[in-house]
């Protein structure tokens, strides 16, 4: 090998052009997050998965390996199935309302001109509230005797005197979902607003010159270009609806008619002390949440590629 061939190579290695030094630096910089993810996400997930295959119950000696027994029992458990049914209802109501409402709110905020930041700050407020606080506020709103909602409806001449919102299962499921939607809708609005603001104004200008109406511009320009943002918003809405706990717990406690699956996990683990049974259920919740979210994620990926 000639000297001229060796020298540039050494020089480039020193500068990191061949990638070794860059790769090392990259690894070093990525190490903290990798370690954090392994310690705080992957290890607990793996540990939960492993424990769910054992009988972990402080009231019984030992932790024998029982394979998929818990998973088989969960499939046959009528109370767990009822909680699943409630959760899927929550997911549908929350995702539909948050997405439709979030897009609507984002479009309005986008038109707000110089008042946009103030409107945005007001819209974001419910999202800034902790779930428990939000639920307590709504508990007062729904109060049969002196709640704001019944007061307004009675003032409007409707027969809602001392109406108990949680005594009808269908109404209760919707009422509880609405509280969650109230808190999470602003996040969808912010994500969609960011997507809206990335659309070049020239496109609308060109459409206007071509004589396109406002609805046409919305369906042919706005919607296709915010698809990615909407898909991300729907993913977070879905995950949040699967993780629904605070609002349901505060508003209706462990009531079976409105009990979401995470409340069931809590009851199995902390009330009944069947830790591994609760773990197996939480593993199923994770997979269900991932499976539904995957639909949106794949959609985002496809949209991003097209973009």
């Amino acid at each position: 090998m000639s000297l001229s061939a060796v020298l540039p190579a050494r020089r480039s290695r020193e500068k990191g052009i061949d990638g070794t030094a860059d790769a090392l630096l990259g690894l070093l910089l990525a190490a903290p997050i990798v370690i954090a993810m392994v310690a705080l996400v992957l290890f607990p997930v793996a540990s939960t998965l492993w424990d769910s295959l054992h009988r972990v119950n402080p009231m019984q000696a030992g932790t024998p390996f029982i394979g998929l027994q818990h998973y088989q029992d969960l499939l046959k458990d009528p109370i767990v199935n009822e909680a699943w049914r409630n959760t899927f209802i929550y997911v549908v109501i929350c995702v539909v309302l948050e997405t439709a409402g979030g897009i609507g709110a984002a479009l309005l905020i986008n038109q707000a001109g110089r008042w946009r930041r103030f409107v945005l700050a007001a819209v974001i407020l419910p999202w800034a509230l902790p779930g428990v606080v939000n639920a307590v506020v709504w508990q007062w709103i729904y109060n049969p005797a002196f709640g704001l909602l019944n007061g307004l409806l009675v003032a409007a001449g409707l027969d809602f005197e001392k109406y108990v919102w949680f005594n009808d299962r269908t109404v209760a499921l919707f009422a509880v979902s609405l509280v969650h939607v109230w808190r999470m809708l602003p996040l969808t609005a912010v994500i969609v607003l960011a997507a809206l603001q990335s659309i070049p104004a020239d496109l609308y200008e060109a459409a206007r010159i071509d004589g396109a109406s406002r609805p046409k511009m919305f369906t042919n320009i706005t919607l296709p270009l915010i698809r990615g943002g909407v898909a991300i918003a729907m993913t977070q809405s879905t995950v949040a609806a699967f993780n629904f706990f605070d609002e349901a717990w505060i508003l209706t406690g462990s009531s079976r008619g409105t009990r979401p699956i995470l409340v069931q996990v809590y009851l199995e683990a902390f009330q009944n002390l069947h830790f591994s049974y609760g773990m197996a259920l939480s593993v199923l919740v994770m997979f269900a949440s991932l499976a539904v979210s995957l639909v949106y994620v794949l959609r985002v990926q496809r949209v991003t590629r097209l973009d």
Partner: protein
Amino acid sequence: MNKLLRTTVALAALALAMPALADDAKPLAGQSITVLLPSGQSPNIASDFEKETGIKVDLQMLSWDDIRPKLITGLIAGTPPADVTEFDWSWTGQFGAAGWYEDLTPLIDAESIKDMPTASIFTVDGKLLGVPYANDFRILIANKDHLAKAGITKMPTTIDELIADAKLIKEKGIAEYPLGVPLSPSEGTSTLWYLMTFAFGGDLFDKDWKPLFTSPDSGGYKALQFYVDMLKAGLIDPASTGLKDSDVHQMFMDGKVTFDLGVGPGWVGAFEDKTKSKIAGSTTLGLVPTESGKTVSYGLPEALGIPAASEKKEAALAFVKWMTSKDEQIKLAAEQGLLATRTSAFEELNKQGKILDGDVVIEQAGTVGPLFKQGTPTWYPQFSSAVNNAINQAAKGEISVADAMKSIADETAKAQQQ
């Protein structure tokens, strides 16, 4: 001179010995412990105990519902959540089976245990896991102003009388919903149904833990039917499906209900406190009304336990003994309205006239038995959850009384197998 010298030396020796004598009186002085109790405890507990023993107390208070999850997360991890903790009667089965608490049998003298009849509720396989510090049993509490306005001169002793009185009070417009009954899916709903089951002459289980509430002529079935009928008659607020027992007590304090059914004498202090209650001065106590007229009740005491993982067991034990002593029980009764767990303290308080309607309380106390004769089972939380959920659903009209009873029996059978 020699005399003076000897006196000086003697005084100096005495002065030097004083701290040592004080140390002997307070052998654990300087140690510190954490104590986890439900909210509402007297603020003087920590300072009074430190004054007497020299042991510092970090008193942590949480709402009753939040204590259990905190205890369990700590206990399962082998980390003591505190050196002394709340120990509710309903946890005895689970915590006993898990072996999370210290056996206090050899550490508490037999005389004290004899003086505390409810100590047996905290005993599992001969091991005393908690020393009772707050007594609780069910009794009937009413608003005597409401009764007087309706012309009712005596407390009801039978269920029929209770219904007749409630109807009269409603008809006269004194209270829209005279009967205060929690119907939300919460513990208070279960505990009242147990009482009503006894009041209708029934029991929960036989000696082999077989349910005794599924037949229409059983006490449990009749108790739930009573709720449904009273809801239909407009004597119980339909919004009770969202009320816990503490919410019902608040309604009683607001003067909205006449009879508080799911309550113990320990609440009288709050009901008679003018800063908390709008009906202070109007509380009256009666025996639990029953179908037959022969009153019944059962105990729901709270105890102090020492987690087995605690590293300061000696100081923790000193606290448990101090807080459950006769003197402290009398003091706590005066300061925070706690019902004494020692018979001797209870009698002393009644002698001093410090218990409202003391004779009624003592008569009811004489009828108090354990909820479960065989001891609290490990599956109690599942049973209680099944009970309050079924009651809640039946009260909302989602399921029939028969289905509710069957649902409780089915879930109990499942819990017993796990």
